[in-house]
């Protein structure tokens, strides 16, 4: 089967995508920390990079032929290396996504939604934020909604993820004018207005990376 015609993603596609996520986070380390300096404690980039570099290291060894297992491994790695608020949140997201895809060796486009919904549910359960609290939820929620909508109209994975990425970006920039109600930025009260949420930004970066990978592999 040629890549162009592929309608499923393999284990190595997923690993590839995860590796790219590691690179993207690494490249945006300073940027994310910068955002966190303004309304937080200047560590979001360092936190995320520590976690994703640990993932990258694990991915350099051979992995199981189980996409769910790989995602769970990523989740555990994030939980045990990131710390802060983003560690348990992203860790839970990956753990839940992994659980949802347990045993899978290939992904259909629909699996993306299953995993995405599970991940978002994990974040909401763990962090108890709602839409508009100025957190990563503000990027993740519209992204999953866009993914669902696109897939429902029969879009290809890449296309649906592209829509999700655009929605995440809109959600991310949408955090700028609002006041934080969760996380460290909430302590600033009105002073949090005018700044983009770091976690929403890292969420967008991860989703955009998925969309790009999907496009590249013709998923």
């Amino acid at each position: 089967m040629e890549k162009e015609l592929s309608i499923s993603a393999t284990v190595s596609d997923v690993v590839n995508c995860l590796r790219k996520m590691c690179d993207v986070i690494h490249a945006n380390k300073e940027y994310l920390t910068e955002l966190d300096s303004a309304i937080g404690d200047a560590d979001h980039g360092t936190n995320m990079d520590r976690g994703f570099q640990a993932i990258a290291k694990k991915l350099s060894a051979p992995v199981d032929n189980d996409i769910g297992g790989i995602l769970k491994m990523c989740g555990m790695t994030l939980v045990t290396t990131v710390g802060g608020a983003s560690g348990p949140l992203y860790g839970t997201a990956f753990l839940q996504a992994g659980t949802a895809l347990a045993g899978k060796q290939e992904l259909e486009p629909g699996d993306l939604l299953v995993a995405g919904e599970a991940a978002l549910k994990g974040v909401l359960m763990r962090g108890k934020a709602i839409l508009g609290d100025k957190t990563m939820v503000d990027a993740l929620t519209p992204a999953i909604a866009a993914l669902e909508e696109a897939l429902a109209t029969g879009a290809k994975a890449a296309e649906a993820l592209e829509k999700a990425s655009i929605a995440a970006e809109t959600g991310m920039t949408g955090t700028i004018p609002i006041q934080a109600r969760k996380g460290r930025a909430s302590y600033l009260g009105e002073r949090s207005i005018g700044h983009q949420d770091p976690g929403a930004t890292s969420s967008f970066l991860l989703i955009r990376t998925m969309a790009e990978t999907a496009r590249e592999i013709g998923f």
């Binding site: 300096s37 939980v79 290396t81 990131v82 710390g83 348990p88 996380g183 909430s186 302590y187 009260g189």
Partner: protein
């Protein structure tokens, strides 16, 4: 950035190595995962007190491990909550069979990580309770925020509950005591300068030559308002009155219900300080504040308390819960009953706090 460190990513590890070398009679150190624990752990039959949080607040928490205070402290990266695996391993190491109390400062990251750790420890058959410290009156409400931050009252809570546990209190009693100290404690802080997170390499915020941040946390996060600097007396008055005039504070917290076997939402109320109360007064330096300034603040705090009918029955003046090299201070007042005073006076022997031994 000028700091006496080697590589930013090694700072916490090397700090712990230094502590292990400096205080072998009080503490031991685990590096994988990172935590400090009592040299004589586990103390059989004693409730084990574990705290932890981001590094950069030293001596808290690692410096409070030892006889009469904490059994273990988990050190995260600078200003970053430690991870559940650290907390779980610490629990395993110091578990004396009488249960584990996690003392958790109320920050989203700390709360979530300690909740995960507690769930994991329960899977290993430990009895665990998490108690939150949320004493920072700079955070006004809990509806529009992640709730009040845990700051200065943490030090007082760790001392007093440590003494309670040492005395043989069971887990319920230690947890109640910790809740009581927290319910009786209020704090507020200010910063003259920012700190610089080593991995970030530059100050978290910039302040003008005549500006301060009022209502600062302990992670270099900006405060609630930026204002012109005033005299020590005026600033002390602002901090002290914010604490003393703060009303009852009610909020919902997540606690483990051992009978139900599940997390439940509990409404807790901290009652306002009132005339006639006896208090433990704590003037804290943020890391870069010289002693001379802390004494000048204590002097004024004493006066304000007197005027407001509060009797300072015990005090602590020094840099105990810090933000790296930040210049600034915080004030904590904790209403203290006889039990709390006796436990405060009980012997303690840790790298950061010591008396009676």
């Amino acid at each position: 950035m000028k700091k006496l460190i080697n590589k930013p990513e090694d700072a916490v590890k090397e700090e712990l190595e230094g502590m292990a070398l400096a205080y072998p009679s009080m503490i031991k150190v685990s590096l994988e995962p990172k935590f400090v624990y009592r040299a004589d752990a586990p103390v059989q039959g004693k409730v084990a007190l574990i705290s932890g949080g981001g590094s950069g607040h030293e001596p808290m928490h690692g410096g409070f491990v030892g006889k009469g205070m904490l059994d273990a402290a988990c050190a995260g990266e600078v200003f970053t909550s430690p991870t559940p695996d650290q907390m779980l391993e610490a629990a395993k190491k110091v578990n004396g069979g009488a249960g584990i109390l996690y003392i958790v400062k109320n920050y989203t990251g700390d709360v979530m990580n300690f909740e995960m750790a507690a769930d994991m420890a329960r899977l290993e058959n430990m009895v665990v309770q998490n108690i939150l410290i949320d004493d920072d009156v700079a955070v006004k409400d809990s509806l529009w925020t992640a709730g009040r931050r845990g700051v200065g009252a943490t030090v007082i809570a760790e001392k007093i509950t440590g003494a309670g546990a040492e005395k043989g209190y069971d887990l319920t009693k230690v947890a109640d005591l910790c809740r009581k100290v927290n319910a009786s404690g209020r704090s507020m802080g200010l910063a003259l300068t920012s700190c610089t997170v080593p991995a970030a390499g530059k100050p978290t915020f910039e302040l003008g030559d005549d500006e301060i941040e009022m209502g600062i946390g302990i992670h270099g996060e900006p405060g609630r308002t930026r204002m012109k600097i005033k005299s020590a007396d005026e600033l002390t008055e602002i901090l002290a009155l914010s604490i003393i005039e703060d009303g009852d504070y009610s909020r919902i917290v997540h606690e483990w219900d051992e009978k139900k076997g599940d997390w439940v939402d509990v409404t807790l109320v901290n009652e306002a300080l009132k005339q006639g109360d006896q208090v433990i007064a704590f003037v804290n330096g943020m890391g870069g504040t010289p002693n001379i300034e802390l004494q000048i603040i204590y002097r004024k705090l004493h006066e304000v308390c007197e005027k407001k009918g509060l009797k300072i029955i015990r005090n602590l003046v020094g840099s105990y819960i810090t933000s790296l090299e930040m210049q600034g201070c915080s004030i904590t007042l904790v209403r203290a009953d006889q039990e709390m005073i006796e436990l405060w006076d009980a012997p303690v022997m840790t790298p950061g706090l010591r008396w009676g031994i």
